[in-house]
C-alpha cells in the first residue's frame, strides 16, 4: 500500500530537487562560459566576428526551450547516444548561453560612452580601455539581470522532465500515476520550486541594489 501523505510526497519529490538544482547550476555555469566569448564577438567592430555571434544568439533564443530538448534527445541521441540528463544539460546550456550573451551585450552597450572617451583621453590602449574600464562596469550592469535569469532558469529546467530527466516534476508525475492526488502532488512540487525560487529572487533583487552605485549607464 502506497503512502500519499503530504510528508511522504514531500520526501519523494525532494529527491528530484537535487536534480533540478544541479541542472540550474550546471547550465547557468556552462551558459556563462559560452556567453562571454559570444558577447565579445557580438560587440566586435569586425563583421566576421559579429555576424556568426548574432546568428548563434538568435537561433539559441529563437527555438523554444522544449524544442531544443526534443531536438537533442530525440534528434541527436540516435546518432550520439545521450541519456536524458546530459541531453537536458546540453539543451539548457545552449539556451542559457544565448540569453546570457544578450545580457552581457546589453551590459557592454550600456556603459556610458563617456567612460570609453575618458579612458581614451588618458592614453589607455583600446584593449586596456575595454578590459580595465568597460568590462568591469558591463559585468556590474549584467549581474542583476543574470541573477534574475537564474530564477527563470530554475523554472525552465522543469521541461527536462518531458525528455525523462528525474527532476521534481518528473517524480511528481510518477507519484500521480501511482495513485497520488494530482492536486496535492503538484502543489507540493510547486512549493519546492517556491522554496528555492523565492529566496533566490530576493537575493537577485538585493544584488541589484548593491550593484547600482557602481556604474554609470548610458
Amino acid at each position: 500500500m502506497s503512502d500519499f501523505s503530504f510528508a511522504s510526497i514531500l520526501q519523494t519529490l525532494s529527491a528530484g530537487l537535487g536534480i533540478t538544482i544541479l541542472m540550474t547550476v550546471v547550465s547557468f555555469t556552462v551558459g556563462t562560459m559560452l556567453a562571454v566569448p559570444l558577447a565579445l564577438m557580438r560587440t566586435s567592430k569586425l563583421r566576421i566576428l559579429r555576424a556568426p555571434a548574432v546568428a548563434v544568439i538568435d537561433i539559441s533564443r529563437g527555438i523554444p526551450p522544449l524544442v531544443w530538448l526534443l531536438i537533442i534527445y530525440f534528434g541527436i541521441s540516435p546518432i550520439v547516444p545521450l541519456e536524458p540528463l546530459p541531453a537536458g544539460l546540453i539543451g539548457l546550456s545552449i539556451i542559457s548561453a544565448g540569453y546570457l550573451a544578450e545580457n552581457f551585450r546589453a551590459g557592454i552597450d550600456n556603459v556610458h560612452l563617456g567612460q570609453k572617451e575618458a579612458a581614451a583621453a588618458l592614453g589607455l590602449t583600446p584593449s586596456n580601455q575595454f578590459w580595465r574600464i568597460i568590462a568591469p562596469q558591463a559585468l556590474n550592469i549584467s549581474i542583476p539581470p543574470s541573477a534574475s535569469y537564474a530564477v527563470a532558469l530554475l523554472k525552465d529546467t522543469a521541461i527536462a522532465s518531458i525528455i525523462g530527466v528525474a527532476d521534481i516534476i518528473f517524480l511528481a508525475q510518477n507519484e500521480v500515476s501511482r495513485g497520488g492526488s494530482a492536486v496535492l502532488v503538484f502543489s507540493v512540487a510547486a512549493l519546492l520550486y517556491l522554496l528555492v525560487g523565492i529566496p533566490l529572487s530576493y537575493f537577485s533583487r538585493f544584488v541589484d541594489g548593491v550593484v547600482r552605485s557602481k556604474v554609470v549607464t548610458a
Binding site: I71, A182, A189, G197
Partner: protein, 212 residues
Amino acid sequence: MFEHWIEWLPQLLNGLGTSLLLTACVALIGFPLGLVLGLLATAPSRLVRALVIAFIEVFRGIPLLAVIYLLYFGLPATGVTMAAFTTIVVGHSLNLGAYSSEVFRAGILHVGAGQREAAASLGITGRHAFFHVVLPQAIRAIPGPLMSMLIMVFQSTSLAFAIGVSEMTSTAFSIGSMTFEYLNVLVLAGLIYAVLCIVSARIVARVEEKLN
C-alpha cells in the same frame, strides 16, 4: 532532406495555426488580467495589495509546466474538467497575467507624482485623473515589453506538447515518431519558430526605437 520539408510543411503550418491561436487566446485573457493585477498591486488597501502580490509571486515562482499539470490532472478531481486546449490557455494566461502585471505596474508608477499633482492642480482627481492623465501615458511606455512577452508566450505554447494539444511541436514530434526523422522535422519546426520570433523581435525593437 529538403524534399521531406516540403512534404511536412503543410502539416506543420497547420500546427503553427494552433500555436498562433493559443497565443492569441492567451494574450486576450492574460494581458487584461495583468492590467487588473497591476492596478490592484497599486491599490490603497493593504490587504488587496498583499493578496495580489502573493498571487503574482506564486505564479512567477512556479514552472508553467507545473501549473499546466496541476490544472490538467488535478482539477478533474474537484469536478472541473477542461479540454487540453483550454487548460493551456488558462495556465498560460495566469502566468502571463502575473508577469505582465509587473510591466503595467511599472508603467503606472513611471507616470510620476508630478503628473498627478498637475492634474490635481487643475481640479482633475481620482478616477478622472487616472483614466485621462495616468493611464494614457502608462500605456505608451509599455508596448515594447508586452510585445516581447507575447513572443515568449508563442514559444512556450510548445509546452502544449506535454498534454497532447496538436500545435506545431506536437505535430513535428508525431511526424518524427512515424518517420523516425526526428532530427530533420524538429529542426524544421525549430527554424519556423526561430524565424517568426527573430523577425517579430526585430520589429518590436524597431517600434520601440521609434517610440523613444
